[in-house]
Each structure stands twice: as structure tokens, then as C-alpha cells.
């Protein structure tokens, strides 16, 4: 049985207790999206300030468990200042780490984790242990899915 320390790394507890980039932005200029985890009712709102193809700033509000809150906080740090292409790459790596990935039809499909360096992931690597607790994967990915939602809503 995987131990609690696999799940609740120190970085995670830190981001949970001291979430970065918490709060809201007025919309506009920000864009936003709401996400929720039907399993537990957790809810999250992501606000993005985009300039050209760069995420200039991000804020997140909501309620959730330690994994979903810390993952949101970690994500906010990871994507701030990044181009959309960079975010896309990060997302792909993150999903690989969570051992969920999607096929051409957007359908979930288990795949081999692709190649990536830990350096690219940075602090996000702290969430690696979540994969041993499959029910919690949805907690870890909630903020990412909400981020994608915000970007897709804007595109359409």
C-alpha cells in the first residue's frame, strides 16, 4: 500500500496551506472558467489575463481538497508567464505523469508516459505520487481541465 508520504509531499502541503495566486480578476480584461469535480462537489474558478499568446497573470478561487487546491496553486505558478505553446507542452507532460492521456477523439485512454525531463515539470513533480491513488487523479487534474476550458471558451 502506498504511504501517505507518497501523496502528501511537503510542497503539496505548503501550497495547500499557502495557495499562490489566489483570488479573482475582473472580467474583462480577464477570461475565466469554472470547473467542478462531480465526485466530491469541489469547485474552482480560473481567471486568466492573456497578452497575445502569453499568460500574463492567473488567479484561482474555489474550494477543494489538499490535492486539488495544491495542484491549482502549483499550476498557477507553472503557467504564469508562459506562452500557450509552452502551457500546452506542460499540460501534456502533466497528464502523462498522471498516466491519463487522450486519443484523437478526445477520449481518455491509458498510454505509456511519454518522455519528459523532471526539470521541465519543476515543482509539479510533487504531484507524481497521486497516480498511486487513482481516485485522487481527478482532484489533481481539475485545475488543469478548467484552464483548458477557459482557453477553449475564448477560442470559440
Amino acid at each position: 500500500m502506498p504511504g501517505l508520504e507518497d501523496l502528501y509531499r511537503e510542497i503539496i502541503l505548503d501550497h495547500y496551506k499557502n495557495p499562490r495566486n489566489e483570488g479573482t480578476f475582473p472580467t474583462p480584461p480577464a477570461i475565466k472558467a469554472e470547473g467542478h469535480n462531480p465526485l466530491c462537489g469541489d469547485e474552482l474558478t480560473v481567471y486568466l489575463i492573456l497578452e497575445d499568446d502569453v499568460i500574463k497573470d492567473i488567479r484561482i478561487t474555489g474550494q477543494g481538497c489538499s490535492i486539488s487546491r495544491s495542484s491549482a496553486s502549483l499550476m498557477s505558478v507553472a503557467v504564469k508567464g508562459k506562452t500557450l505553446a509552452q502551457v500546452d507542452r506542460l499540460l501534456k507532460i502533466f497528464k502523462s505523469m498522471m498516466s491519463i492521456s487522450t486519443n484523437a477523439n478526445g477520449e481518455p485512454e491509458a498510454v505509456e508516459p511519454e518522455e519528459y525531463s523532471e526539470r521541465e515539470l519543476g515543482e509539479l513533480v510533487a504531484l507524481q505520487g497521486v497516480v498511486k491513488f487513482p481516485v485522487r487523479i481527478k482532484c489533481a487534474t481539475l485545475s488543469w481541465n478548467t484552464l483548458i476550458q477557459a482557453l477553449e471558451d475564448r477560442a470559440s
Binding site: L4, L7, L13, L39, C40, G41, E43, C65, S66, R136
Partner: protein, 420 residues
């Protein structure tokens, strides 16, 4: 369980250590201790239930009802015998006609919401529910609203988790259906169903009880409760998955149009129409859950053998013990939802603890082998009323003992230390 105070105890308490020997999971699980406090989601099964099904498959299986040969006849006898037994267990006056087998309590309620809108209900008719219903007693009616156009009214709940009955006359006025849970799977509230049924009947409404969390734990008599229909589910009452029950008054069932169509529920089929079968088969389309009915019959035997009054006393005692322990250990750090009065409660305890998210609580408790449920418990409107997204919930059945509560307390202390 020395420390329990059971003021209403009238009979010999359950011998839990003997009972636990009947449940293979407590010895066959992976070796770690198992403090299973999630019976409200699904109970464990005694060996006698597994054996009844194995024996059936190993000696008597054949499809029921249509076979002339002995094997099929014996299978039919076992299946219909289970129907009879299960009906008697809830006080059905005429079990062999009034007990319908479904796949779960959810299907039982969908059967009603569908057949009622195909039959006696008219567009705009009022169905009364409560704010504390499980999704199983909400979504079928929301579908009926969407597809057919019923109106839904809700009985609200107060801060202590009781139904607010001040305006009940107005709410029930002209209502055609009252469908209410006998006890909340989140708050534990035991609702005053007999009283509600009387009021509803005065208004000419039919009364449906959701007994999913009640029948497994408390002696049930549909007549005393004043119900017209009662839905419950096998897997929460020591029975197998894959079976639910709907009891209904014969004359009401008689007048209801069928639900699912297929074999067994007809007396005749033509290319342009069909004639429904008699009760209860009119509502059982296709091959029924034969082994599951037999398994549920064995579960009922097991419960009756213990005595449902003793089962209830045992759970009240555990509830008292748990309340006392939780409050003396954690004081203001814990908030237990629902009535304070134990005798108004069934054996579930939903709580907030130290603002630690229920997912995290459940995860940390699991590390000590303590299984509690975390989430919205399929009662999102109630959660909204409580102003929270989720709770942690511990729930009891006959195999639980004070050691389970003690383990819960210890594990909560660990969670407190971890996230504190």
C-alpha cells in the same frame, strides 16, 4: 462496548464478535485491520448469503417461470419464495403480488416516476419531495418534469436537519404524490413518515417511501408507516448487488401501466400491441435477478434471525458511543450534521472536521484501515442547503463495534496532527 448507554435496550445485545465471523471480508481482506464504516454506501455480506447463491447456481439454476421441467420449477419456487419472504419482512399484506424485483432502489423509483406519468398523473400535477432526498428520489422526478411536465414542490429542512412542517398543509395541497426518504443518508434524520402519509392521504396523494437506508436497519412495516409504495435495495441490507425491491399496494399496482417491456411482463404480444401480465410479473421484464433474489432472501433470514429490534438497539448504542467519543475528543473541532437526539437518527454520522477536506480525511483514515465515505453522498441539493461541497460520513451495521469507533477517533487525531 461497556461504555455504551442504551436506555431503550429491551433484549440481549448482539454478539458482534460472533457476527463478524459470519462475514468473510473481516478475515479474508488483505490482512490489514478493516474498520468498515461505510455500510450506508453498501454493506458487507455474510457467508450464508454467498452460499445461498452458490448453492442455487450449483444445484438448481434454470430460467424461471416458463419451464415445465423440475429444475426450472425448483428455480421458480426459490425465486418466488424469496419474494414472499422479503415481502413479509416489510409487512406486505400480499407479498406474492405486491413485491416487484428491480435492479436497485433507484430503478424502483424510476419505475414509479415512469408508470405514474404513463397512468394516473397529468401534466402539471404536483409531486412533493424533500430537500434531503438522495438523487435516486430526485432525478427520476426531474426527468418526469422535463419529459412530461409535473410540478415539484419541496419540503425544506431546518438547521437541525429536521423537515420543516409549518406549511405542510399548503405544500401538500392538491399534491398527487408525496415521495420521501424514511431516513436521510447524510443527516441520519428519521422522518415522521406516518404523520406525513396521513396528511398526504387526506389530500388524496399517494405516498412513496424511500427505504434504502431504513429497511436494512429498523423493523419496517408498510402498514404502520402508512405507505402506498416502498423502495429499497439489496446491497445495503447484507444482500447482493444487482437487486432492488419495490413494494406497492396491489390495487394501485393493478392500475399502473407497465414500465419496461419484454418477456414475462405480457400475457400476449401481437405485431401491433400487447397485453400486460398479472402482478407482480407485469413489472418484471426479461430474466429477473434470480440468484440475487435468493441471496436477498438469505440476507433477510440472517437479519430476522438476529431480530430487527436488536439490530436497531445495537446501532443506537453505537451511535451514542460515537457521539460521546467524537465530542469528548474533538469538541469544537468537529461538527456533526443532523439531529442531536440519537433516537431521531439512523446509524450514519456525517461530519466536518477541523476544516480538513473530507477527501483528505478519508484518505488519512484509510491509512489506518478506517473506511468512511467522503463526498456529496448523492444529495447535492442537501449539500447546497448545508453550504458545503462534501462531508465525511461514518455509518454502521451489525458487524460494527466500539473498536471501529475507537479506530475512527485515533485516525481522526492523526489527521488533525497532519493537517493541523
Amino acid at each position: 462496548m461497556e461504555r455504551m448507554n442504551t436506555p431503550t435496550a429491551t433484549s440481549k445485545p448482539l454478539n458482534v464478535s460472533e457476527i463478524r465471523k459470519d462475514f468473510p471480508i473481516f478475515t479474508r481482506h488483505d490482512g490489514r485491520p478493516l474498520y468498515f464504516l461505510d455500510s450506508a454506501a453498501s454493506s458487507q455480506k455474510p457467508l450464508s448469503v454467498l452460499q445461498a447463491m452458490d448453492d442455487y447456481y450449483s444445484t438448481t439454476h434454470a430460467n424461471v417461470h416458463r419451464g415445465v421441467y423440475q429444475l426450472a420449477e425448483h428455480a421458480t419456487e426459490l425465486y418466488e419464495g424469496a419474494r414472499f419472504k422479503i415481502g413479509r419482512f416489510v409487512g406486505a399484506p400480499n407479498p406474492s403480488r405486491e413485491i416487484l424485483f428491480t435492479k436497485n432502489a433507484t430503478e424502483s423509483i424510476n419505475l414509479l416516476s415512469t408508470s405514474l406519468t404513463r397512468g394516473p398523473l397529468h401534466r402539471g400535477d404536483v409531486v412533493v419531495l424533500t430537500e434531503m432526498e438522495h438523487h435516486a428520489n430526485l432525478v427520476p422526478w426531474l426527468i418526469a418534469k422535463e419529459q412530461f411536465g409535473i410540478e415539484i414542490r419541496y419540503i425544506r429542512i431546518d438547521d437541525n436537519g429536521y423537515l420543516i412542517l409549518d406549511e405542510i398543509d399548503k405544500i401538500l395541497e392538491d399534491a398527487k404524490v408525496l415521495s420521501v426518504t424514511l431516513t436521510s443518508n447524510v443527516l441520519g434524520t428519521l422522518n415522521p413518515v406516518a404523520k406525513l402519509a396521513r396528511l398526504a392521504h387526506k389530500n388524496g396523494a399517494i405516498v412513496i417511501g424511500d427505504g434504502a437506508q431504513y429497511v436494512p436497519h429498523i423493523a419496517t412495516d408498510v402498514n404502520e408507516l402508512g405507505l402506498d409504495f416502498l423502495a429499497f435495495t439489496g446491497h445495503k441490507m447484507l444482500g447482493p448487488t444487482g437487486i432492488g425491491v419495490l413494494w406497492g399496494k396491489a390495487d394501485l399496482l393493478e392500475d399502473l401501466p407497465p414500465f419496461l417491456g419484454g418477456g414475462d411482463m405480457i400475457t400476449d404480444v401481437r405485431l401491433d400491441g400487447f397485453t400486460p401480465n398479472e402482478l407482480p410479473w407485469k413489472f418484471e421484464a426479461g430474466t429477473p435477478p434470480i440468484a440475487e433474489a435468493i441471496g436477498l432472501g438469505a440476507a433477510v433470514d440472517y437479519l430476522e434471525n438476529l431480530g430487527m429490534d436488536r439490530v436497531r438497539e445495537h446501532e443506537v448504542a453505537l451511535l451514542s458511543y460515537a457521539f460521546e467519543k467524537l465530542e469528548s475528543n474533538f469538541g469544537k473541532d468537529i461538527t456533526i450534521h443532523g439531529p442531536r437526539n440519537i433516537s431521531d437518527r439512523s446509524g450514519v454520522i456525517s461530519f466536518d472536521f477541523n476544516n480538513i477536506h473530507p477527501h483528505d480525511i478519508s484518505q488519512i483514515l484509510d491509512q489506518s484501515g478506517v473506511c468512511v465515505r467522503a463526498g456529496h453522498h448523492c444529495a447535492k441539493p442537501l449539500m447546497r442547503h448545508l453550504g458545503i461541497a462534501a462531508t465525511a460520513r461514518a455509518s454502521f451495521h451489525i458487524y460494527n463495534e466500539s473498536a471501529d469507533v475507537d479506530a475512527l477517533i485515533d485516525a481522526l487525531a492523526k489527521a488533525q496532527a497532519f493537517f493541523g
